[in-house]
């Protein structure tokens, strides 16, 4: 089987891998690259567990071919904390226990960060619509939404 050599950037680090034409970005992240923080839920773009950013834009890694990563800048959950310092969303999710089984959490965090970058002061409704592409099968939405709203408030406060 012929493999394609792909040069990309993941969480700011240059990265190279070989892939076939059928593998998704998610397959490569979780397989050869060992970045298993990005989860596979449905594999059909419905659940958002595999949310990543590609050139700053929110996407499902299961809906993108790995070969399409050539020249792109990918952001995964592994790049969210700065060393030992958690992102404010990660910190708040821990403090408020905004997770249950945790499978959806990486995707929710990536989506929530993307939402707050675009809209630092969202209403509850905007958070709920913004995270509509992330399913939590424990149905722990309420804590997630409250944690995102509180993080947004904290981040606005510290940006002053």
């Amino acid at each position: 089987m012929s493999k394609t050599h792909v040069t990309t950037t993941i969480n700011g680090e240059p990265m190279e891998f070989l892939t076939d034409g059928a593998s998704s970005l998610l397959d490569v992240l979780r397989g050869p690259l060992g970045l298993t923080g990005t989860k596979e839920g449905c594999g059909t773009g419905d659940c958002g567990a595999c949310s990543v950013t590609v050139d700053g834009r929110l996407m499902c890694a299961c809906l993108m071919l790995a070969v399409e990563a050539e020249g792109k800048s990918i952001g995964t959950i592994e790049g969210m904390a700065q060393g030992e310092t958690l992102h404010p969303l990660q910190q708040k999710f821990l403090e408020m226990a905004a997770l249950q089984c945790g499978i959806c959490t990486p995707g929710v965090l990536i989506s929530a960060r993307s939402l707050l970058e675009k809209n630092p002061d969202p209403t509850e409704e905007e958070v709920r619509f913004g995270l509509a592409g992330n399913l939590c099968r424990c149905t722990g939405y309420d804590k997630i939404v409250r944690a995102v709203l509180e993080t947004a408030a904290d981040m606005r406060e510290s940006a002053r």
């Binding site: 394609t4 034409g21 059928a22 929110l58 993108m64 071919l65």
Partner: protein, 289 residues
């Protein structure tokens, strides 16, 4: 999984010759939000994937002036949503595109792909039909331009001939006092497939409808242009009688199926209700121009 060739041509000519040479064994990749799912489920097994996003014309948004825009077929909904000029010119088209899937899906999915996937319930299609958008198609026999409503042939089928690729969608210039709107009915508030979707495009002058187009989705094997509904609105002040006549025309155009999302009776009734609501939104926007 079998070996799949991945090609990323940089010109439409290259893409067309690769697509034609593959004689049906190739699939076009824009956002891939349908293709990758279909590959995973085994519905599509392409030998070659032709990624069209490296072709500049396929990812460009051109402001042609007077509200006219040419949008590359592979432009994602998220990119189009960030174009302030387009949002102002075609709010109904944009709200339809922004109803396709989640934010994640919108980051990849394109109106061109939504059209070519040819689902009767594709959200952007009724809005683009109402807009009177023209589709530029290029194939082995050259270029042609057809209205959006001429592309779908049935669920999952288009009128494109072998080797043809949708290059761009051209939204026409509109006179002042024009606007559009799109509404869809789904049983939940987000992330679902339309039970009925309707796009209405109006040009108003002194409170009177001068021009109208109505696109109706999810109630027939293809998205419909409902000329009788438009005719019922033109020349009126959108009074109750005119709206009821247009709603009746929409109901008459319906040829839906019963499925888990809605029955034939329900879809037909909702088509009329949504016509009235959508026309009111389009008229309010047109008045506000």
């Amino acid at each position: 999984m079998t070996d799949i060739r991945y090609l990323a041509p940089t010109t439409v000519d290259e893409a067309v010759s690769a697509f034609a040479a593959a004689t049906g064994a190739a699939s076009i990749l824009a956002g891939g939000t349908d293709l990758l799912v279909q590959m995973r489920s085994g519905v599509r097994k392409p030998g070659t994937i032709i990624d069209i996003k490296k072709i500049p014309a396929l990812t460009a948004i051109e402001d042609l002036g007077g509200g006219a825009f040419r949008v590359g077929a592979a432009v994602s909904g998220a990119v189009l949503a960030e174009h302030k000029g387009f949002a102002k010119a075609w709010p109904g088209v944009l709200e339809a595109i922004n109803l396709i899937g989640s934010k994640q899906v919108q980051g990849r999915a394109s109106p061109g792909g939504n059209l070519c996937n040819s689902s009767p319930a594709g959200d952007s299609v009724p809005a683009m039909v109402a807009a009177g958008a023209l589709v530029t198609i290029q194939g082995p026999n050259g270029k042609r331009e057809i209205p959006v409503e001429a592309v779908p042939a049935g669920p999952g089928r288009t009128t494109l001939t072998p080797g043809e690729i949708v290059v761009s969608l051209t939204f026409p210039a509109r006179p002042a006092g024009s606007s559009d709107a799109y509404l869809r009915m789904i049983p939940r508030t987000e992330m679902d497939i339309a039970v009925v979707g309707i796009g209405v495009n109006l040009t108003m002058e002194g409170g009177v409808v001068k021009a109208a187009r109505v696109g109706l989705g999810a109630v027939a094997p293809t998205v419909l242009l409902v000329e009788a509904a438009a005719k019922a609105l033109i020349g009126t002040k959108l009074d109750d009688a005119a709206l009821e006549a247009a709603a009746a025309a929409c109901r008459a155009a319906c040829n839906p199926i019963n499925d888990k999302r809605g029955t034939i009776v329900y879809r037909t009734k909702v088509a009329g209700v949504l016509l009235k609501r959508t026309a009111a939104i389009a008229a309010a926007r047109a008045g506000g121009n």
